[in-house]
Subunit: 294 residues, 2 copies
Amino acid sequence: MKWTDGFIAVDWGTTNRRAYLIDGAGKRVDEFEDARGVLTIEAGGFTGAVSEIRDRLADKPMLLAGMIGSNRGWKEAPYVPCPAGLDDLAAKLVWAGEREAIVPGVSYVGQGRADVMRGEEVQLLGAVAAGTVHPEGFVCHPGTHNKWASLRHGKIQVFGTVMTGELFSLLKEHSVLADLLQGPVEANDAFRRGVRRALEREMLPADLFGVRAEVLLGQANKDDAPSFTSGLLIGTDVRIGLTWPASAQITVMGRPELTRLYAVAIAEAGREAIELDGEQSFIVGIAEIAKRMS
Amino acid sequence: MKWTDGFIAVDWGTTNRRAYLIDGAGKRVDEFEDARGVLTIEAGGFTGAVSEIRDRLADKPMLLAGMIGSNRGWKEAPYVPCPAGLDDLAAKLVWAGEREAIVPGVSYVGQGRADVMRGEEVQLLGAVAAGTVHPEGFVCHPGTHNKWASLRHGKIQVFGTVMTGELFSLLKEHSVLADLLQGPVEANDAFRRGVRRALEREMLPADLFGVRAEVLLGQANKDDAPSFTSGLLIGTDVRIGLTWPASAQITVMGRPELTRLYAVAIAEAGREAIELDGEQSFIVGIAEIAKRMS
């Protein structure tokens, strides 16, 4: 198989997937995104789901990353332990079909903790390859499960996960705070106030109830609740992240609306952060893996 | 109206209600519990819901406590600010009907926080009146929203809420941990391990994700996950509660299966706790309020 003639890269998550057609020079020439995440595909349905992608983009070999390699995905690709670089990922690809290879996730065990990631590793290491993240850098990757990762010699050395995005969704959709959290979250004064409270005192499950109590007692404005609550959660996340080994320079990588919130929270903690869109880093990372197979 | 001829007391919560027939001597002579919580009763339906209770117990005047007095209940009974004792509650009853009085909740504003309770105040102050809690005591009242309350001269002086029970329910019903949390929670070694981790380091939203990662990487037993996760949450709760002003003696009051877990967690934190069933304290507290109306 000639990956140098171009290939299809897929970032295949739990709830959606993004597919890119990459040419022989590593440039994306076509792409689409849809809601056919891993959890929407029934057992035995992956061959068909992969054909759909080829029908829309091109008849090319495929490199798949993300939850597609989990025990809920197409075929399990065992985690590569830290320290993990692009060479390590490329050496442990798992073939799900004749022309479809799955990129493994990365695991960390140490300091009395254990952790896993799937999908973020391609972006993190792609950014190093692209020169946008320092090979000894420290990266924050917000999402449903925010990752903090320390790089060493261009490999992922240590990382930790904070389930900030999921906790906010649970509170917004199902909790006693739900009716207060339906408005927009913005990096405004209420957000900064939440961040500062989380940095000053470590009592998140008490401060969350306080959101409701303060509105009931006229001590806080109802409209501030979504941003303030996001600030409590992201501030807690930043406090935790900054206890892990960190270089001076922090890069926040991901969707711009999330990187903005984290950059503001990191600034409240007295540190500086560079924001980076994760999508281009994914393309570079996956093309680097393809190059190693040619 | 003669309350000394007996009355009906109702502890009317969000999802269920408990009603007691109390005789002139303050003893319960009949009772029932059902799922007709405040949220199940449509606007205008409370008169009927109250008649049902009289039909089942007796045609007596009624004292109602709990969420029935909230803005989602029958008629709003404004919070009585701390310090609050039985005299203060009795002085601020709100009449919802000619023979139905609602006991107000209690609020606290101070130390950069605001907090509210509805229902627990009758149990807390009832226990003081019964002599089972010291008038200068410190009480932990587990439930959906755990309360920590400092008493002074037999009044509620300061209190704080930690939304531990609700967070556990959200995780169990809707989160990425859901499939791991369906088993029973017990005060076992896994529970104690979770408590110790929460007491040692303040990173709950990271440790919660770790529950899944540790099982995936074979670092933890899947069957331990419910107790360990409960330990993380209750350990965090105890760490927070013990930062609030506390007397040496701690009473944990509530349902026995919950008081057990909290007593074990408090012991892990190097403190001692006395366990107390909350129901009898409710009867004493509400009878004390009725006495003040006669």
